[in-house]
Subunit: 334 residues, 2 copies
């Protein structure tokens, strides 16, 4: 029976439109990727290097972080907040980096080796820790746009981006507020409870590794949305991932390969959600944040359009239940 | 100078990326509309009629409301809420109607007469009032998808949709909460204050009528986003629009024609934001809601893609300042 489901974290209602239910195969070719030929900006990249992983000093880079050529934010301006009548303004202040995930001209992270993906996660963690040293930064987000509809230019070289901001992004605030409400009420982490319920129910599990679980959310925003969560509680990506980068890389490779094989190479985004920086805060606030939030990765395939009703109402419509998506993906052999 | 701006209602930060600033002309043809040939489902519509406007009984319809052929929600199920571990579920319960805005095969509302658009707004108001009688409904939203990227099928016949829901949509909650915080602090309506500030500053005004103002928001989510607000305070669309339908229709026609001419017929959505139903509530809660919320219409042209950073962070990036958009649109002759 069709139903409305509420996201347990932020309280967003989602319509699971089983009346319109479609089989996963319907989404094949819906948003086919294309990549331009021509010189690649990332194969023989000479941009100013911020960080790299090399086998030894002087060896060729294996993962490379450079400043974005078209930065959204930079530290060139002075950090300042000001008002403007009833409006609030902050100067452009932040960091915008590009992580070139491989020296080879490979488009999809799914096609990198587990070892190569491990180095990408290691790189993210290094950059999170480094950017945390700037106390004007409140938040860092690492994300990937793969394919044109996901916001990537048409160059087929696997890469992702890191942005540091001086204000707390809206989604982070929503998630933190939702998780905190639950914690205040139950004195338990909402995500930990959710993982336990999901591992028992098994209906939305896509794949599992020693330390992580990949599942479709109960009330997804997007068809084929997948969350990857660490089984062990930690609010902070850079601290929580330490020692488990290889395990996470293996699960990520499985998830991305299942999407690639099962849906014939769809466009997708992924986003790492971590707690905001707590810059030397001690005591209750620090402790609460550490206990009530739980870092995770959202993988968002871009298979459907978002229409006016969804834009306007914040309601999302899922034309296939997440249980069917999980079942479909479990059966895709990789 | 590039800057971050905060939406005064819900607190979402937007990056105004003036470093990447582009001229409005760049958006021409970015999302060109196409319409299929073939029989139109709406020209000679025989679906079960819910409401229509006719010159006299038995005359041909001029605006017609029918049940959606592919309803997202319906009243066929019993209304019920239930839990599922830590999750919340509500049965599919609601209404989903299609407003056929003209008997003629015209695609864009911009090309309807002011009188025809007036009848569309009158129709919305009739349906809002009628749907309010069902006390299981908490919220009604009227919206339009024009063009494929805006979520419309490829049939070129001007129409819009009305959805009634048994739960409060997420965006409504966000906006209501934001407006209430401001009201509690200042004892004034946030939207009324904003309209006053904008009418004085003039930099973001697109067009104005006797009773309404069309402006670009200070911190837009989308390039070319336009808000149409009644100058007179009212939280409720159906009550507030009474007597001003013709004036609103004239301003809407100007705004949509400016978009059509200036951007060469882009895809767009519009959404009417009204307060939730208050089903016989009296006293403080009713009075507060009536005073702190302000109904309005959001017009959302669909010119750019939304990338991973925006999906993940809730930050939106505007590659052209709303002041430039307003200036550009003011100069488009209609």
């Amino acid at each position: 029976m069709p139903e409305l489901r509420k996201d347990p974290v932020i309280g967003r209602w989602v319509i699971i439109a089983t009346e319109r239910a479609r089989r996963p195969g319907v989404f094949l070719h819906s948003q086919k990727n294309t990549f331009e030929d021509g010189p690649c900006l990332f194969c023989d990249n000479q941009d100013r290097e911020i960080f790299s992983i090399r086998q030894y000093s002087g060896a060729p880079w294996r993962v490379r972080v450079v400043e974005s050529g078209t930065p959204l934010l930079s530290t060139n301006n002075k950090f300042s907040r000001r008002g403007h009548g009833l409006y609030d303004v902050v100067n452009d202040y932040g960091a915008h980096e590009v992580v070139i995930e491989t020296p080879e001209h490979i488009a999809n992270m799914a096609d990198l080796s587990q070892e190569q993906i491990r180095m990408v996660f290691e790189t993210y963690a290094v950059r999170y820790n480094e950017l945390e040293k700037n106390t004007n930064f409140q938040y860092v987000i690492a994300y990937k746009n793969y394919g044109w509809v996901a916001g990537s230019r048409r160059i087929g070289h696997s890469r992702s981006q890191i942005i540091a901001t001086s204000v707390n992004p809206f989604s982070a605030k929503e998630k933190l507020d939702g998780a905190k409400k639950y914690y205040n009420y139950r004195e338990r982490c909402l995500y930990c409870d959710m993982i336990q319920q999901e591992l028992e129910a098994k209906v939305r599990i896509v794949a599992e590794s020693e330390h992580f679980v990949a599942m479709t959310p109960f009330a997804p925003r997007f068809v084929f949305e997948i969350w990857i969560l660490p089984k062990q509680h930690n609010c902070d990506f850079a601290k929580g991932v330490v020692g488990h980068e290889h395990d996470l890389a293996g699960l990520m490779k499985i998830v991305l390969t299942k999407l690639k094989v099962g849906l014939e190479d769809p466009a997708y985004n992924y986003v790492i959600h971590s707690a905001p920086f707590r810059h030397g805060e001690k005591g209750t606030k620090w402790k609460t944040l550490a206990q009530d939030y739980h870092w995770h990765i959202e993988v968002l395939p871009r298979l459907t359009r978002v229409a006016g009703f969804e834009k306007g109402s914040g309601f999302y419509i899922s034309s296939i239940p997440p249980e069917s998506v999980a079942e479909f993906l479990r059966e895709v052999k990789v």
